[in-house]
Amino acid sequence: MLRRPLSRAARKEERTAWVFLLPWFVGMAGVTLGPMIASLYFSMTDYNLLSSPQWVGFENYSKMLDDPRLRQSLSVTFVYVALSVPLLLAVALALAMVLNRGIKGLAFYRSVYYLPSLLGASVAVGILWRQVFGTEGLVNKFLGLFGVQGPGWISNPDTALYSLVVLHVWTFGSSMVIFLAGLRQIPEQYYEAAALDGAGRLHQFRHVTLPLLTPIIFFNLVLQVISSFQSFTQAFVVSGGTGGPSDSTLFYSLYLYDEGFGRLHMGYASAMAWLLVVIVGALTAINFYFSKRWVFYGDGK
């Protein structure tokens, strides 16, 4: 490429741009890229923060292969993502469809459904959840009305994870708002045309709404998979920081925190962080790969 010498005005513009970007450059180098490189280095060392890091090569990575707690944390996290994300998206889509019918008080309902997604990540809601799903909690009170004696959902290793899944699904509001915005974009004529051709409501949903909404479903799916794979606060609060009972809520992030900040195995925790990068990257890549089969961008784009 031929570079023409920049004019005086262009040089000035360029200089100004660097000044505006200066904080970003410093942050990029000092708070993002630098630490990433350091993390890669730490992942190949034995490091406990107190003495200097000892080079061990790929030992941390090979150790991960036969770490039963790591395997447990991966399976807990996968189950959590695989259950909560599809459920959350289904609820969000269903409610967005209902709200989009132009009912009265749309703004009110939208707010009520949206609120939990703002509060859901807080410690306070984690505490509330411990209670709601406790032995004497709200859920069991409700089941009691039908004569069913529910278990202590949080204290039972078989059910503890499901209470966290429910908590995540409870925060469907933000996805719902994105769906609502997407539904608004679908031109009314499409439905009129479909109705003229004799398509019922179900048919319209299947052949008009759903295909046109697939890009937004996909967008929500990618975002949700990435973020829910990294959930931390609620598992931490509900399990009292342990990932218990019997590691049944040991999220990957929780185990990483425990190794890094609980046991000061900074090297091993760094290696775990890089495995997380690989997993999240792979899940996103898989999503994009399969998206070609079901996401419809119109006009063959």
Partner: protein, 265 residues
């Protein structure tokens, strides 16, 4: 009708928590109703003074961290966004791509080396690790949000100002920022809520009791009571949720627009 019932089920736990915070402890579990038969506000006083410092201090610490982060994000992200959206410079596409890539980096990769760095310069147990990075435009989300917004504004505005002799700084301060109030408001609201709710980084960096923020203090309170006084625990939980609720009420419009256009949580 279904909508009402479903909505009620959704908010029932929250309402129940509020109701329970003013019920005598003995009644909390016996009586799942929302209207307390006997009210008892002592939980608020008990919870407020239950930890080594009054709860107000933890709220104040949270407020300091939130205000610092808010100011930092507004200044640094809008500056970076102005450069990306409006100024020509070599490597713009490359750096923009790099910025978008950082959106994908899991926080867990950064949190260990950052902790090592901040502990080397003795910033642990100060608010600096929670605030300073925000002044360095590390929340790429908001840069992206503002770039999108700036791009939607007609460039004629800049051109006209330039003809009138305005420099870049003047254009940024006097023209772009004032008409970008919606984008700035969205940034401010999300920064407020995310930082107020943030737990992991505050847990790691603030270990001294007098520096702890509300979520960290609340978490310690759970351990301290080991589930004995739910009423006070709920009372303090309700107090920490109130600021988020107020911001939600005031800023709803911007929140809904913000997530609809960028897909943020």
């Amino acid at each position: 009708m279904v909508l009402i019932v479903f909505g009620l089920v959704m908010v029932y736990p929250l309402l129940w928590m509020i109701a329970s915070s003013v019920k005598p402890d003995a009644l909390i579990f016996r009586d799942p109703s929302l209207l307390p038969t006997k009210t008892d506000f002592s939980h608020y006083a008990d919870g407020w003074n239950a930890l080594s410092h009054p709860f107000g201090l933890y709220l104040l610490n949270s407020a300091i961290v939130v205000l610092g982060a808010l100011l930092g994000n507004l200044v640094s992200c809008s500056m970076a966004a102005y450069a990306f959206a409006r100024l020509k410079f070599r490597g713009r596409a490359f750096f923009f791509g790099m910025m978008m890539l950082t959106l994908m980096v899991p926080v867990y990769v950064l949190i260990i080396p950052q902790y090592v760095m901040f502990s080397k310069i003795e910033w642990v147990n100060t608010f600096l690790p929670l605030i300073v990075p925000k002044f360095l435009a590390t929340d790429a989300f908001f840069i992206f949000l503002m770039v999108q917004f700036f791009r939607g504004l007609p460039t004629e505005l800049d051109e006209a100002a330039k003809i009138d002799g305005a420099g870049y700084w003047r254009i940024y301060f006097r023209i772009l920022l004032p008409i970008s109030l919606p984008a700035l408001a969205t940034t401010a609201i999300f920064t407020f809520i995310w930082t107020w709710n943030d737990f992991l980084s505050q847990l790691i960096y603030l270990t001294k009791p007098e520096l702890q923020t509300a979520p960290v203090a609340l978490r310690n309170y759970v351990d301290a009571t080991s589930g004995a006084s739910w009423g006070s625990l709920f009372a303090m939980s309700v107090i920490t949720l109130i600021p988020v609720f107020i911001v939600f009420l005031v800023g709803q419009r911007y929140l809904v627009k913000g997530i609809a256009t960028t897909g943020m949580k």
